[in-house]
């Protein structure tokens, strides 16, 4: 991926502290923080650029423009002695006027300028409180946004800020430790069970680089945790590193049962346009579309929609499928899934995996103890859980089983600071950082035969 914004790819929108991941599609309306715009004009700008929303489109903002706005704020008092408590009447500009300004198409900055000019107390305030005032208003009316390159860091931040419940209330410190404690690097073969919308998978995929292998364990028929991943603009080759495997096959695997075969895979279907079937089943976007569909239909039904949508080079295509084509798509998807399952099955069975990572809402002990056999000796694991007690149990089970050492049950505490001259202090609001991490290293509890003497 390069340094420039490209239509057809996912990006992270940022306004103040608010982040959102979206796919930029030509002429496709984006709604973000009560702003609506089409992204077309952003194409070709450097990632990190700032844009203004103007008449439903994006306009690149430059420094001079900003300076003009800034100069609107000049005079300031020295301290608070001139401040009169006006009980909210200090703003002479009425709500209706603000709305009218908006309708007239005034920019957020113009509105702020007006607010400032009409605030009877503004010039009496200190520079600091003026700034605070402007910032408060800025937050509300400013129409500047930034467009950033999607990285695992931003995706994690986004989930932490917007959907903490979907990621088991995990915090940045737990997230970051999971991938270092398990020594994830290019080429790692890692078993993952996460019910965090794919946020952890996104970070793992970023750390794997171009090679490696992920066995992605999931409940139900199809994985439902690829959503966050879809925003990383992964190449098809990288998607191939992920091999999904249903948890319900773990017991049979340990008991030595082969994977059940799928009778549908042997069906013969006539296909008019094999290329389209291929693109429908091999494009990352389809995975997402498919996944959305799966999220909606409880049983993970893989019946393709009547009008399946796919995106080719950023252009949306609608496909009207005949019955046999629908079946072909279904078979092709099942085939792909079955291949993945087989690959994952072999990985788990060989017992040569490099790491196990778990962050799920389930009771961890039965799952983890069943996975231990797939991990090679001397390799690390990390298990996150929202609650301490299940990890305490697993801690004890592991130490009693003699199959793991270096066990550590940790809780991290992260504090953000405001660092400004004469005004440095911890942030008033701090995340409570719910969640616990159990890490350790697998060992071989038997003495090697050559070393039995003593």
């Amino acid at each position: 991926m390069n340094d420039y914004i490209t239509l057809g790819e996912s990006v992270i929108l940022k306004k103040g502290d608010v982040l959102k991941a979206v796919k930029l599609l030509p002429k496709k309306l984006i709604v973000f923080e009560r702003m609506r715009f089409v992204p077309d004009n952003a194409e070709g700008a450097l990632f990190g650029s700032t844009f203004k929303i103007d008449r439903g489109g994006l306009v690149l903002v430059n420094q001079e423009e900003v300076n003009q706005e800034k100069n609107a704020v000049t005079q300031s008092g020295q301290d608070n002695r001139g401040i009169v408590d006006t009980h909210g009447d200090s703003q002479t500009l009425k709500r209706e006027c603000i709305l009218q300004m908006k309708e007239e198409g005034q920019s957020g900055e113009q509105i702020i300028g007006n607010l400032v000019n009409n605030s009877s107390t503004f010039t009496g305030k200190t520079k600091f409180s003026q700034t605070k005032y402007v910032k408060k208003k800025q937050k509300k009316y400013s129409s500047y946004i930034q467009i950033h390159k999607p990285t695992a860091r931003l995706i994690c931040k986004l989930y932490i800020n917007r959907e903490p419940a979907k990621i088991l209330n995990m915090n940045l410190d737990s997230i970051s430790q999971i991938v270092t404690a398990t020594n994830i690097r290019q080429g790692s073969k890692v078993v993952v069970l996460e019910t965090c919308s794919g946020m952890l998978l996104a970070l793992i995929m970023e750390r794997l680089g171009l090679e490696g292998c992920v066995v992605n364990l999931h409940v139900g028929e199809t994985p439902s945790n690829l959503f966050a991943l879809s925003h990383l603009n992964l190449s098809e080759d990288k998607w191939k590193l992920i091999n999904s495997f249903p948890l319900s096959q773990l017991g049979p695997l340990i008991a030595g049962h082969p994977l059940p075969s799928d009778p549908l895979l042997n069906a013969e279907v006539e296909v008019k346009d094999p290329e389209m079937i291929y693109s429908l089943t091999h494009e990352q976007d389809v995975v997402v579309v498919e996944e959305k569909a799966n999220l909606m239909s409880q049983d993970g039904n893989d019946e393709p929609d009547k009008d399946t949508t796919s995106f080719v080079n950023g252009k949306r295509k609608r496909h009207y499928l005949t019955d046999s084509e629908k079946l072909a798509v279904k078979i092709e998807r099942r085939k792909k899934r079955h291949e993945q399952k087989e690959f994952a099955y072999n990985c788990l069975q060989k017992g040569q995996m490099d790491a196990i990572i778990m962050a799920c809402r389930f009771h961890p002990t039965p799952i983890f103890m069943s996975l231990m056999g797939s991990l090679a000796p001397s390799k690390p694991f990390a298990i996150y859980h929202e609650y301490q007690e299940p990890l305490m149990e697993l801690f004890v089970q592991l130490s009693v089983s003699n199959s793991a050492i270096n066990l550590q049950l940790c809780e991290t505490f992260m504090r953000n600071y405001q660092v400004l001259s004469e005004r440095t202090h911890p942030h008033v609001m701090m995340s409570t950082g719910r969640g616990y991490l159990l890490t350790g290293t697998k060992v071989n509890k038997e003495l090697p035969s050559t070393n039995k003497s003593d």
Binding site: N62, P377, M392, V400, M414, N444
Partner: protein, 375 residues
């Protein structure tokens, strides 16, 4: 060699970590004919060769585990030549600097190489770490370590003063990390090293004054930096222990009194059940009692042999040296006449309550607007 995770058996010249307990590990380079003395007796190197990593291994007076080194194990065992960074800070730094395979990173100073090992692991095999250290001795020792650990392909160490001489690359780094006493003075050098199309920077400072100066510079209009953020991380590691607290006698000797207090109408009707001649609290936590329903056959939890000694050994995470009675696995909290027994997490008396302030920012000189009307 040692950090190559693709091999699974010990070979000569490998770095291995000899594990005797989670606070007792030893880095050892396996050499023909050499012997290392551990607290469990002599460990003959020749005998290690060919063994699988993660294997248990007999010494003369006990056994140890032979582990393949990881940057995290190295951090806990490396020879300290300076203050070093530890796992929680290292994890946050690699994450916030967005390091991944292929990243180009500049670091100063190298110090004891604790962070460097983690960076190299994450950017390998296609990325590179340029690390700058002005102390001759530390520069040489770290260089030898990188070489011995088989990391040379992905790291270059330079003997120079970063403030005066800068980093060895320009407009080339995806990330810069500073752990020096005056990070603000190295900021221009850091900016020069970073890619003008964008990058990340981090500075670690134990003291707030340095952090303040650094942040002020980052925030200066036209600096090219934005999204300045300062955080602090504290890790609390828990010991899992079984604890037994006594149940006080509230005067239930008289059977009539007891019956009254423990009856369905009494104050203690919810948690404990009395059997025919069981003392209060002896056994039985009512599990699924529904309100209003008579709780006929109460579910009984086996009385367990409470042994308060059991706890300490398992807390260390090192099971092998455990002397006390074997813990037969997890048990739920239980009450006996000897007390109420449960497992809990106990934080150590003292922890590293402060390591340093981590300041992060993004560098994007070409598109960085001075939107912060604050300054």
């Amino acid at each position: 060699m040692g950090f190559d995770t693709s091999r699974s058996n010990v070979a000569y010249n490998d770095l291995v970590i000899v594990f005797m307990g989670h606070d007792s590990m030893l880095p050892v380079t396996v050499k023909q004919g050499e012997i290392t003395q551990t607290k469990f007796g002599a460990l003959k190197h020749n005998e290690l060769v060919g063994h699988e990593f993660g294997a248990k291994f007999n010494c003369t007076k006990g056994w140890v585990y032979i582990l393949q080194p990881t940057p995290e194990l190295w951090t806990t065992t490396l020879p300290h030549r300076t203050q070093i960074l530890y796992a929680p800070d290292i994890a946050m730094i690699t994450f916030q600097l967005e390091l991944k395979p292929g990243s180009v990173v500049c670091e100063s100073g190298t110090g004891s190489g604790s962070l460097s090992h983690a960076i190299i692991r994450t950017v390998a095999p296609t990325g590179h770490l340029h690390t700058v250290e002005f102390n001759q001795d530390r520069y040489e020792k770290a260089g030898v370590e990188f070489e011995n650990h088989g990391l040379s392909k992905n790291v270059t160490i330079y003997h120079r003063d970063v403030i005066n001489d800068g980093f060895p690359v320009e407009n080339a780094a995806d990330a810069v990390f500073l752990d020096i006493p005056r990070p603000d003075e190295a900021l221009p050098q850091a900016a020069k090293a970073l890619k003008s199309s964008g990058g990340r920077i981090c500075s670690f400072s134990p003291c707030i004054e340095q952090t303040q100066r650094f942040c002020a510079l980052l925030r200066r209009p036209g600096s090219g930096f934005r999204d300045v953020e300062t955080i602090e991380i504290v890790r609390k590691s828990h010991n899992v222990k079984r604890v037994n607290i006594p149940v006080a006698d509230i005067g239930l000797g008289n059977p009539e009194v007891k019956q009254h207090v423990l009856s369905d109408k009494g104050p203690l009707n919810y948690a404990y059940e009395t059997g025919d001649d069981l003392a209060i609290g002896h056994v039985i936590v009512r599990t699924n009692q529904e309100a209003g329903k008579p709780c006929k056959p109460p579910k009984r939890q086996k009385v367990e042999n409470v042994d308060s000694q059991e706890s300490n050994s398992e807390a260390s995470g090192n099971v092998q040296q455990k002397k006390g009675p074997e813990d037969k696995g997890y048990t739920a909290p239980s009450a006996t006449k000897f007390g109420y027994s449960f497992r809990t997490c106990i934080a150590p008396k003292e922890i590293y309550g402060h390591t340093g302030y981590l300041t992060f920012a993004s560098y994007c000189p070409e598109v960085c607007l001075d939107l912060d009307w604050c300054q």
